[in-house]
């Protein structure tokens, strides 16, 4: 989801008799529901996997500010503008919580940024789609944050302490995001015929990209088994996607909007909706750098980093000078 394509050890699940004694003790702690803390022993694969996953998650929060930042100056009312500004500010905060959690694993903030800027580390595919109209702010809050929450709630129980604690804070703050999005959608569908059309159009464009947020289908996610054994992934991609569809369809009905899937129908036998899978070729295309906005998003991040360099350096130099003066005065 926010970490859709985490390449793990590259192998499948490590069998118990292939583990070292230390790794077996580690796995026992996880199985017993204990939290792993930064200074505790952990296998290299666990550490590497977590850095990639938390890093991707953090990058997604930060890059995720861009599609919404696009509309802050053009929000239709002052109230909507204040709401959106607060939401985008939250995303910055969520990125910071997550970067700090990743840093406890021994990677520096600058290294993480460098890997984002070089394309070595990914962020969620969803942020490579453009936000064309104000209704997209509704669809993003409702669907994108809705999908994010669905993934993040179980991650509050993840085995790595700092990650779990960051998720608790994030979940507490994030439910307002989804509600403000749904609130925008409600205003649009109750507005003029044109406004309702805009809402439907936003749903049409964001539905499949939102489904992609949960990552590839289980049969194609080779890395899941080990991540689930380590409890850094709590549900499979397909489980969460199904849950998302189940919760979102009635909300769309409430809005009087149509999910753009003619195969969508309730299945009495399974107790779930049947639905069309997203176009996975498109997904792999977007995640590997060729989506509609990949270049813009990365350029915006690189520019912010480069343009801010003199500020970072000047602040550090000033603080050092002040510290030296203090020492001299003592």
């Amino acid at each position: 989801m926010y970490a859709q394509m985490v390449k793990s050890t590259g192998k499948g699940l490590i069998a118990r008799d292939e583990m070292t004694a230390e790794d077996r003790t580690f796995q026992d702690r996880i199985d017993a529901g204990e939290k792993i803390e930064p200074k505790d022993y952990m296998p290299d694969g666990y550490r590497r996997n977590l850095i990639r996953q938390i890093g991707q998650h953090a990058h997604s929060e930060i890059v995720g500010q861009l599609p919404e930042g696009n509309w802050i100056t053009r929000a239709p009312t002052l109230e909507r503008k204040a709401n959106l500004l607060a939401k985008v500010q939250d995303e910055a905060g969520h990125g910071l919580y997550l970067y700090c959690a990743a840093e406890t694993l021994g990677v520096s903030r600058d290294e993480l940024f460098k890997m984002l800027h070089s394309g070595e580390m990914k962020y969620s595919s969803i942020f490579n789609y453009p936000t064309l109209t104000w209704a997209d702010m509704g669809a993003v809050g409702w669907l994108v944050d809705g999908a994010a929450i669905m993934n993040q709630v179980p991650l509050q129980r993840t085995s790595y302490g700092p990650y779990a604690r960051a998720m608790v804070r994030i979940c507490k703050e994030e439910s307002f995001h989804q509600r403000q999005g749904f609130h925008i959608m409600m205003a649009m569908v109750n507005g003029t015929a044109d406004q309702k059309r805009m809402a439907q159009d936003a749903l049409n464009r964001f539905w499949y990209p939102a489904l992609m947020m949960f990552g590839p289908s289980d049969k194609d996610s080779v890395h899941s088994a080990q991540s689930m054994a380590w409890k850094i992934k709590m549900n499979t991609n397909d489980e969460l996607r199904q849950k998302f569809v189940g919760e979102t369809v009635p909300q769309a009905q409430y809005l009087g909007l149509t999910i753009p899937d003619e195969n969508l129908k309730w299945n009495d036998d399974t107790g779930h909706y049947d639905f069309t899978e997203p176009d996975w070729d498109e997904f792999f295309h977007v995640i590997s750098g060729s989506g509609p906005c990949n270049t813009d998003r990365l350029n915006a991040r690189r520019k912010a980093w480069d343009d801010g360099a003199w500020v970072r350096e000047a602040m550090m130099a000033h603080a050092e000078k002040k510290a030296q003066r203090r020492v001299a005065a003592e």
Binding site: L96, E103, D110, A166, M315
Partner: protein, 94 residues
């Protein structure tokens, strides 16, 4: 590459009468800057009435491998808890 801003640990007093609790960390050039950032990052929803910041490198921590020697000795000293002492009901609340 330029020098990275140092890491600070942030502690917040949630409300009057409570102790400061660790809430997370952030990067800042000095203490004043760290408090300003902590205010933005950790108190956006009235979560605090007071902020402490400490440079992460100045925190000394016990080692996980010392868990045994440090905490096991307390385990068999049940007489440090009030429930260890049976007092007849006739005595009343104590």
């Amino acid at each position: 590459m330029s020098k990275e801003w140092p890491l600070w640990e942030v502690f917040i007093r949630g409300q009057h009468g409570m102790s400061h609790r660790h809430v997370g960390s952030l990067h800042a050039v000095d203490a004043e800057h760290a408090i300003k950032n902590a205010r933005d990052v950790y108190t956006r929803r009235n979560e605090g009435v007071s902020i402490w910041v400490v440079m992460a490198k100045d925190i000394a921590a016990s080692s996980p491998s010392d868990k045994g020697p440090l905490y096991e000795p307390a385990r068999d000293k049940v007489y440090r808890h009030p429930t260890f002492y049976d007092i007849p009901e006739d005595v009343g609340k104590m």
